[in-house]
C-alpha cells in the first residue's frame, strides 16, 4: 500500500513559519535540540485520529491555526494578571510566576527559596550554560511525542529547579502559570526538577487563563528523581474555556525513589495531559492520579506511559472523570514491563461518572509485559451515580442535587486522597466544590 501523505494544514504551515522566524532569536550555545525536535514534528505533523496515540484527541482537527508565541509581558500586564490569579492563592508556598509562559522575576520568590533548593531561569541557563540542561528530556519515549517535541522546538522559558541531596524541603514550590491576551497566543515552557538522593520536595503547578480565547499553552515538567528521593507533584488545570491546553510530565525514577503526582482538570475546550514514567532504578514507587470535571463541549485526555525497566517497581494509577453535558473524557494508559523488570507491581484504573446521557468516555488500557514474575492489572468503569447510594443519602434528608453532589465529590475525592500536603488537598477540594456549586 502506498504511503499516505497528509496535506499540510494551515496550522502546520503556520508552525513552520513561526519556527523559521523564531530560529533567528535562538541563543547560539543552546543545549536543547530544537532543530531535531522540529524536524521530527515536521515529519509527523499535527497528530490526527489516524495516529493510535491520538485516536480520541485529534489535534490536527482541533488546532485550526497556529497561535503566535506570546511576547514577554510588560511589568504592568504581568502584575494585573497575577492579581486576578486565584488558584492555590491561600496555599503557603514559594512562588515562581509565569505570565503567558514567561517567568516574571518581580512576581516570583526567587530570593527566598527554601534551604537546599536552587532555581535557575531557563533563559539564563540557555544563554550561560548550566550542567542541569543535560538532564532535560529524562524519558526516552517523549522523543516520539509531537506535543513534547513542539514544546522543545518552541521552548520560550521555564526553570531548572535543583534540590540538594538529603534536603527535606517542607515549603513547596508553586509554579503559577497565568495567561492573558486579546488575541490567541501560544506558550511553551519547560521546568526541570532534579531531586537529589534522599531528598523530599513538593511541586505545585496551577494553570489559569482567560475565557473566550483559543490560546494554546504547551507546558512540560521534566523530573529526575534520584535514588531514595521523593517528589510530590500536584497540578491544577483551570485554563480558560476555549484553550487548547497541552501538557506533559516526564519523570525518571531512581532506585527506591517515590513519585506522587495528581492532576485535576477543569479547564480547556481541549486538554491533553501526558504522563511519562521511567522506572530506571530498582524498587521505585509511583502513585499517579488524575481527575477531571468536564462540562458541555469539553474534551480532556489523560495519557500515561509507565515504563518499568528495573526490578520491583510499583505503580498505582487512578483516574476519575466526571462528565456533564456532552463532554468527552479520554484515558489512555500503557504499562510496559521490560524483561529485566521482574516483581513489577502495576495497577491502573479509570473510573467515569456520567451525569448525562450525552457525555462519553473513552478508555484505552494497554499492558505490554516481557517479564514473567509480575503483577499487573487494569480496570475501567463507567456509569451514572449509584441509585442505591442516592436513596440512602436522600433518606437522611439530603435533597437530590445535594446528594448527587456529595457522591460526585466522594468519587473525585478518591483521586485526591494521595495529595499529602493538607493545604494543597484542601485547595483542590475547594475547586471541586466550586465546580459543583456552579453546576447547581
Amino acid at each position: 500500500m502506498a504511503d499516505i501523505t497528509n496535506l499540510r494544514t494551515s496550522a502546520e504551515t503556520g508552525l513552520s513559519n513561526l519556527f523559521e522566524a523564531a530560529r533567528k532569536s535562538f541563543a547560539t550555545e543552546e543545549k536543547i535540540s530544537r532543530e531535531e525536535a522540529f524536524k521530527f514534528f515536521e515529519a509527523t505533523g499535527l497528530p490526527s485520529r489516524r495516529v493510535e496515540a491520538f485516536k480520541y484527541t485529534d489535534l490536527r482537527a482541533a488546532i485550526v491555526e497556529a497561535a503566535h508565541p506570546a511576547e514577554v509581558p510588560s511589568a504592568e500586564t504581568a502584575k494585573s494578571t497575577v492579581a486576578s490569579a486565584k488558584a492555590f492563592a491561600g496555599v503557603e508556598a514559594v512562588r515562581l510566576t509565569f505570565v503567558n509562559g514567561h517567568l516574571v522575576d518581580a512576581l516570583s520568590d526567587l530570593g527566598s527559596l527554601p534551604e537546599g533548593v536552587t532555581v535557575t531561569p531557563l533563559t539564563e541557563a540557555l544563554t550561560k550554560g548550566n550542567p542541569l540542561l543535560k538532564a532535560l528530556g529524562p524519558v526516552e519515549q517523549t522523543r516520539e511525542n509531537p506535543i513534547y517535541q513542539l514544546n522543545t522546538a518552541f521552548l520560550a522559558d521555564g526553570a531548572l529547579i535543583s534540590v540538594a541531596a538529603g534536603a527535606k524541603v517542607e515549603t513547596p514550590v508553586h509554579l503559577r502559570f497565568v495567561g492573558t491576551g486579546a488575541t490567541a497566543f501560544s506558550t511553551a515552557t519547560r521546568v526541570l526538577v532534579s531531586v537529589g538522593e534522599g531528598a523530599e520536595f513538593s511541586l505545585f503547578e496551577t494553570h489559569e487563563g482567560p475565557n473566550g480565547l483559543a490560546y494554546q499553552p504547551n507546558d512540560a515538567v521534566d523530573a529526575v528523581i534520584a535514588d531514595k528521593a521523593t517528589l510530590r507533584h500536584t497540578r491544577l488545570n483551570r485554563e480558560g474555556d476555549k484553550a487548547i491546553a497541552l501538557s506533559t510530565i516526564a519523570a525518571r525514577l531512581g532506585a527506591e525513589a517515590n513519585l506522587e503526582s495528581v492532576n485535576l482538570v477543569f479547564g480547556g475546550a481541549l486538554s491533553r495531559h501526558q504522563i511519562y514514567l521511567h522506572f530506571a532504578g530498582e524498587n521505585a514507587n509511583a502513585i499517579v492520579n488524575g481527575a477531571a470535571m468536564l462540562g458541555d463541549g469539553q474534551l480532556a485526555d489523560s495519557t500515561l506511559l509507565a515504563d518499568h525497566a528495573a526490578v520491583g517497581g510499583v505503580s498505582r494509577e487512578q483516574f476519575k472523570t466526571v462528565i456533564d453535558g456532552d463532554a468527552t473524557g479520554v484515558f489512555q494508559g500503557k504499562i510496559i514491563v521490560r524483561q529485566i523488570a521482574q516483581q513489577t507491581d502495576g495497577k491502573m484504573k479509570s473510573d467515569c461518572l456520567l451525569l448525562t446521557d450525552e457525555g462519553q468516555m473513552m478508555n484505552k488500557p494497554e499492558l505490554e509485559i516481557f517479564a514473567d514474575d509480575v503483577a499487573c492489572g487494569h480496570g475501567a468503569t463507567c456509569g451514572a451515580p449509584d441509585e442505591e447510594l442516592l436513596f440512602y443519602l436522600m433518606a437522611r434528608g439530603l435533597p437530590k442535587p445535594i446528594a448527587e453532589s456529595l457522591l460526585v465529590q466522594a468519587f473525585i475525592g478518591e483521586a485526591l486522597e494521595s495529595v499529602t500536603h493538607e493545604g494543597a488537598r484542601d485547595a483542590l477540594i475547594g475547586e471541586v466544590e466550586a465546580w459543583l456549586r456552579a453546576r447547581g
Partner: protein, 249 residues
C-alpha cells in the same frame, strides 16, 4: 402517628404488598415479624420512598399527611427515618461531613438555621459515647471498612442526631453479636419517648427481649395477618411461622 391503609405495592411484575393495613400510635413501639419473602423489607422501603416500587393503591399517613407523594428527603424532613438492614458504604464522604450535611438539610427544610460547629460536635460526641462509637470511626469515610455491628451503631447514631418522629428499623439485629445487640437496643430505648414511634422489623424474638414492643404484628404474603401484644413474639419463637404461611396462602 403512622397509619397505613390498604397498601398495594409491586416491583417489576411481582406484587409484594397486598392491601396492608397498619396503625402505629404516638409513642408506640410496634414490631413486625414474618417469614422470609413476606414483604417486610419492601414495606420499610416504601415508607422511606424508594423509587423502585410502584404503589398501586393505598395511603401512608404520617400525622394525617400522605407521604406517598413526597420524595425521600421530604419524608425525612417530615420526620421519617429508616435504619437500613444493609447500611451503604460511601467511599470519599467523611462521616462527620455526612452527619452535618444531613442535620443541616433537615434544619433547612424545617426553616431552622444551620447548626453551629461546636454544637454539632458536642451533639455527635454525646450520641457517639452512648453508642460506644469510637471517635476514630467518625473520622473515616461513612461506613467504609466498618464491621456489621459498627454500621448498625452508625445507623442508630444518625437516628439519635436527626431526632425523627417515626423510625423504621429494618432487621437491625441482623449481623449483630450479643454485645452489639445490647448496645444498639439501649440506643433505641434511650430514644423512646412521647412524640416518637418505632416500627421494628425482625425475624427473631431475641431483639424484642431488648427492645420490648407494645404491639407485635405478623406479616405474611404482603399483609398483616395477626396482631397481638409482646407475648405474640414468644409464641412465634415456639411455633415458628408455619401457621401463617398457610393462613395467607
Amino acid at each position: 402517628m403512622l397509619e397505613i391503609k390498604n397498601l398495594v405495592v409491586k416491583i417489576e411484575d411481582n406484587q409484594i404488598l397486598n392491601g396492608l393495613n397498619l396503625t402505629v400510635n404516638d409513642g408506640e413501639v410496634a414490631a413486625i415479624m414474618g417469614p422470609n419473602g413476606s414483604g417486610k423489607s419492601t414495606l420499610s422501603y416504601v415508607i422511606a420512598g424508594k423509587e423502585d416500587y410502584e404503589v398501586l393503591d393505598g395511603e401512608i399517613l404520617l400525622d394525617g399527611v400522605n407521604v406517598l407523594e413526597m420524595a425521600p428527603d421530604e419524608r425525612a424532613a417530615a420526620g421519617l427515618f429508616l435504619a437500613f438492614q444493609y447500611p451503604l458504604e460511601i467511599a470519599g464522604v467523611g462521616t462527620m461531613t455526612f452527619l452535618k450535611a444531613c442535620i443541616n438539610a433537615q434544619r433547612r427544610a424545617r426553616e431552622e438555621g444551620e447548626i453551629s460547629t461546636p454544637d454539632f460536635i458536642r451533639k455527635v460526641n454525646a450520641a457517639a459515647d452512648k453508642l460506644e462509637i469510637n471517635k476514630e470511626m467518625l473520622k473515616r469515610a461513612l461506613n467504609v471498612g466498618f464491621s456489621g455491628g459498627e454500621k448498625k451503631r452508625m445507623e442508630i447514631l444518625q437516628m439519635a442526631l436527626l431526632e425523627p418522629k417515626f423510625c423504621v428499623l429494618d432487621e437491625t439485629d441482623s449481623g449483630l453479636d450479643i454485645d452489639a445487640l445490647r448496645i444498639v437496643s439501649e440506643g433505641v430505648n434511650a430514644l423512646r419517648e412521647k412524640g416518637r414511634s418505632f416500627l421494628v422489623i425482625t425475624h427473631y424474638q431475641r431483639l424484642l427481649n431488648h427492645i420490648v414492643p407494645d404491639t407485635v404484628h405478623v406479616m405474611s404474603k404482603g399483609q398483616i395477618v395477626k396482631t397481638g401484644g409482646k407475648e405474640l413474639a414468644l409464641e412465634l419463637e415456639q411455633s415458628g411461622y408455619a401457621d401463617y404461611r398457610s393462613e395467607a396462602a
